[in-house]
Symmetry: C2
Subunit: 337 residues, 2 copies
């Protein structure tokens, strides 16, 4: 069955089941001119939005529809997580080619509903349009937070220690495998998984927002150096990154050794890792690390320090230093244009 | 200058000026992972979102970038207006072809900022992505309302009078002219204007939400019959439309006479009119009409009645009746697929 056989309203009726997981504050979900929901007193509302375009952000034959739906929500949740907020509601706009099978869309929604349920996120609105140029996904997610607990990008201070919540570089390696149809990909399913099903650090972001001494945060979407560059730019600081402290997975090391890639370059320029990078007052650092470990049974990785100079520096094991610029993945300047 | 020469962040810096027109509640506008703003106590928040895709919803050589920006915001404002809410903040996601001139985008934003200023709407977030398949626009707009004042679709009652706030059919005629490059279009600039610069009935929607006896409302985006069909479907009612009471402009009459089109068919199936259709208790109808006229120096047009049967009927001058179905513009079933 093709989407053009069931029409827009047939499609909306099909996908609106199981979209509200927290009904308390929902006055009107999918099906009116706007979704309507109430906000708790004393809190502020956040909105993030991300557009994913076929053949730019994904190839339909390299990711299952379930994973695509899962990832489309995950990358937006990651933006809410990076502010230390609680995700609340999602709005899904789709540009759909007329010959797309309805089964494909059902699977896409199944992936979205899977992660939405996991993070108690309601899907309560959106738009569906015909597309003559591939599958287009735009997702907006709202969140709530107490105004004094939000983590911004421009609040890093010189002397802050820089932490990251997980390994970087796996997603870029997964993308490399997918793009090159490398026959060795069977050896590295974890890398493809990291690219197709990123983990949004929602609970971890909430934890950090409540921890004393955490100053600035961002999620790694464009690459560690590029995203840390945003913190540095907007906080008018620089940083030193310790190359050997940056967490990389054993699988990535094996992959890079196998293909003669520089593992540190993969780690710092990767992109789409969706780990959180944050800065914290050095006096609170050990307390934050311990408490995080107690809560999540996971490590926080200290990878550098914020400096008052505007230089961005990568320091290697033996103390040699290399100047960085904010390179990373700039959507418009990418060389494949 | 092409967009790929200035890059994503160059573009963001370029467009973020003049985007916040009501700074009071804005904690963080464009430039962090999410926009942050506070909500008044006791009110609820609404969100609407609309995706516009090149070659589906617009042709870049048939609408100026200013008008396209203006219209993209207007159609979303219309959804907020149809709920009787006050628009607050806009979030703009764009999929941008790499060779689009920066001037084009500046003009597009100028059109958005023009209407945003007029309706006191802040532009405070969004996303920009590279598109390899045309210009893609997704806009989300939030609004606020008191929960007991919101106008829904499913609250029409049998016996309600049906009103419309303005003429229908002009936009469809404008589209016909644009699509057919009709040399006569010079005679009908109003029709092209109606299509390219729709008027969102924001103040009027707010007025109706506060008026006693107004039951259900929707904006005419797919066509009068189709959108009134949503009210009928969701309120489990039917309706009778009086063909001769439906307001049509003198220009549309001239246009239809000239090209031998049925003016009523244009009016009831048109689409993209963005007038409001609402239903009101017959006891309050004359009070609403008078008070609306006093406030806005404009008419409300009574065009029919809600019935308890599920039939949808068009009644002609001499009392002859014709059964309607919910035809209109279904995005996926349209015959041009």
């Amino acid at each position: 069955m093709k989407i053009k056989e069931i029409g827009e309203f047939g499609f909306i009726n099909r996908i609106k089941q199981d979209t509200v997981v927290k009904p308390q504050n929902i006055l009107r979900p999918i099906g009116d001119d706007s979704a309507v929901y109430s906000i708790d007193n004393g809190k502020v509302n956040l909105i993030t939005t991300d557009m994913l375009i076929e053949n730019v952000h994904f190839l339909m034959n390299r990711i299952t529809p379930e994973d695509l739906g899962y990832k489309a929500i995950a990358v937006n949740l990651s933006d809410i997580a990076a502010m230390g907020a609680r995700p609340e509601h999602a709005f899904i706009s789709l540009g759909i080619p007329g010959d797309i099978p309805v089964d494909y869309l059902d699977s896409f929604y199944a992936g979205m509903k899977e992660i939405a349920k996991k993070y108690e996120l309601n899907i309560i609105g959106g738009d569906t349009a015909l597309s003559k140029s591939g599958f287009i996904i735009n997702i907006a997610i709202t969140g709530t937070a107490f105004p004094d607990k939000i983590l911004y990008r421009n609040t890093a201070l010189p002397g802050d220690k820089i932490f990251v919540t997980g390994c970087v570089g796996d997603s870029k390696a997964g993308l490399h495998i997918l793009n090159n149809n490398d026959p060795s990909n069977i050896e590295y399913p974890e890398l493809i998984y990291a690219h197709n099903r990123p983990y949004p650090y929602v609970d971890e972001g909430l934890f950090l927002s409540k921890s004393n001494g955490v100053h600035a945060a961002i999620d790694v979407s464009d690459g560690l150096v590029s995203d840390l560059g945003h913190i540095a730019d907007e906080s008018s600081t620089g940083y030193v990154l310790y190359a050997d402290s940056i967490p990389v997975s054993e699988t990535l090391k094996k992959f890079c050794a196998h293909l003669s890639f520089d593992v540190i370059e993969f780690a710092v320029t990767g992109g789409e890792d969706y780990v959180l990078v944050f800065t914290a007052d050095h006096k609170y650092a050990s307390e934050i690390v311990k408490s995080y470990q107690d809560n999540f049974e996971k490590y926080l990785y200290e990878i550098g320090v914020i400096t008052s100079s505007s230089e961005r520096i990568l320091e290697n094991k033996h103390g040699s230093r290399q100047l960085l610029n904010n390179k990373g993945w700039d959507h418009f300047k990418s060389t494949d244009l």
